[in-house]
Amino acid sequence: MIDKLLEYLRYDFVQNALAAGSLAAILGAVVGYFVIIRNVSFAAHALAHIGFTGATGAILFGLAPLQGMLAISTVAGAIMGLSGNRLERSELAVGMVLSIALGIGTLFLALEKGFAGSATAILFGDIFGVSKTQILQTVVLALASLGALAVFSRRLLFASIQPDLGRSRGLSLAGLSCSFMIILAISVTLVSQVVGILLVFTLVIGPAGIAARLCRSFWSSIGVSIIIALCAVWIGILLACVTNWPPSFWITAILFAVYIFTEAFCRFVLRLDR
């Protein structure tokens, strides 16, 4: 068993998958924690779906799906961010935009004819198909996003916890929200390479949401979130090698199991719910 796993680890496509998966997992875990405390998980979900139009559109025009998705989600994220704290209250608007985005994506897919395979890859992920170029892009984008967060996460946390006080101290809530949503759009795009657009929720919200249920401080939440995300991606990819089942299945299954365990633990051991 161990020998077999080590053998898989020597394959290029497995190494690429682990590298891209790890970076996306780390970024998703960190950004996801802010999604939880800012209460914008629906927007995160929507950004991925809006990205579908970009991805299928890019294929139609002969570009890489990653770039198309990145472009359109970043723009959508910036617009959502500028609407600031109203975002939580505009679920109808976000929902309608995400529907039309999926609709247009479907149209692009039909126009392209015969690329149904690429649709599956975009929707459910194709981590074993990641190329060296894509890994390079992932490294650059993930590091840039984490770097940006390192610069303004203190302000972002303040504005997320106590926006009105932050505004009175001179923080630009719209500016912070906009910057964060752009980083969220990048994270969602990178994570969708691993598990696909439909399953982005798992890796962006899952680890962070579970960590938020368990941890009492900011840094422990971020740490636990990263550990959960990395474990899910690594174990998921290796199990996929062994079983030949899709990695997206394994990653979602692992995270779901951790989630159920956490909920039971919070309810029956910590008695957090009153």
Binding site: R154, F158, R213
Partner: protein
């Protein structure tokens, strides 16, 4: 001595509607001022003007001799809104720590001395007992203490508390007022306490700023809380009824206004 707050002939317009005009007030450092008035009378607009968030049409506002917006680091503002952190285990202490020097760049890492400031603010707000519990499971009164602790960071000289008693039961209202009074004694901070009901603050506040009828009037409880004075302010006939040491504001038509909304 320079006034904590000096308002002269203030006029505030939002869009093309005049919200407040002819507002005059001189508040000395260390005073405890209760701010009252009906919904939509302009209490929040007044606070916005003090914080430099609402543009001033005419007149002047000075906080410790400085124009609004210049001294916000010395103002502790306790907003009505609170983070909704349902189903997270983030501790109350972490929430206060998140606000400590929150306008700095970088990552939210607090030094030893910053953590000490957080601990001091929590102690001053009287929230030590439950500071390490998850914020989401605290009671309404406990959550308000944590929000108070957030506003106390940075040793403010002026505290603006925006309806901190809303949605608290009478017992917790009394406790919070006592705690704010304690904060004033300990720090000497000037307090602007916005509330619906006059009664929980009777005996604690020094003076009242009553906002109604597009303007505001500052005076002692006995000056402001009379039928004549409030009738003039509201521009309609108002009765102030005293019963068992408490005050009730009743419109002549018989509609009981906010001050009587006492659970």
């Amino acid at each position: 001595m320079v006034s904590a707050l000096s308002i002269k002939d203030l006029k505030v317009r939002l869009g093309n509607r005049t919200i407040l005009e002819d507002v005059n007030a001189e508040i000395t450092p260390g005073e405890f001022i209760g701010i009252f008035g009906p919904n939509g009378a302009g209490k929040s607009t007044l606070v916005g003007a003090l914080l430099g968030l609402c543009p001033i049409r005419s007149g002047t506002v000075e906080l410790f001799g400085q124009p609004p917006g210049k001294t916000n680091a010395e103002i502790g503002y306790m907003p009505q809104s609170r983070a909704s952190l349902e189903s997270t285990a983030l501790s109350a202490r972490s929430l206060v720590a998140a606000v400590q020097e929150g306008t700095r760049w970088g990552v939210p890492w607090n030094s030893r001395s910053a953590r000490d400031s957080v601990d001091r603010a929590i102690t001053l707000a009287g929230a030590n007992e439950y500071a390490d519990r998850p914020f989401s499971i605290l009671s309404g009164g406990e959550k308000q203490r944590i929000t108070l602790a957030q506003s106390l960071l940075g040793n403010p000289r002026l505290l603006i508390l925006d309806e901190p008693l809303a949605s608290l039961d009478p017992k917790n209202q009394m406790r919070l007022v006592e705690r704010v009074s304690h904060v004033r004694q300990e720090t000497g901070a000037t307090i602007l306490f916005i509330a619906h009901d006059v009664n929980p603050l009777l005996g604690t506040m020094d003076r009242i700023l009553y906002v109604a009828g597009g303007t505001a009037q500052l005076g002692s409880v006995d000056e402001i809380m009379t039928s004549e004075s409030l009738s003039r302010l509201y521009g309609t006939s108002i009765d102030v009824i005293r019963a068992q040491g408490r005050l009730f504001v009743v419109a002549a038509e018989g509609h009981v206004t906010e001050s009587a909304r006492h659970d």
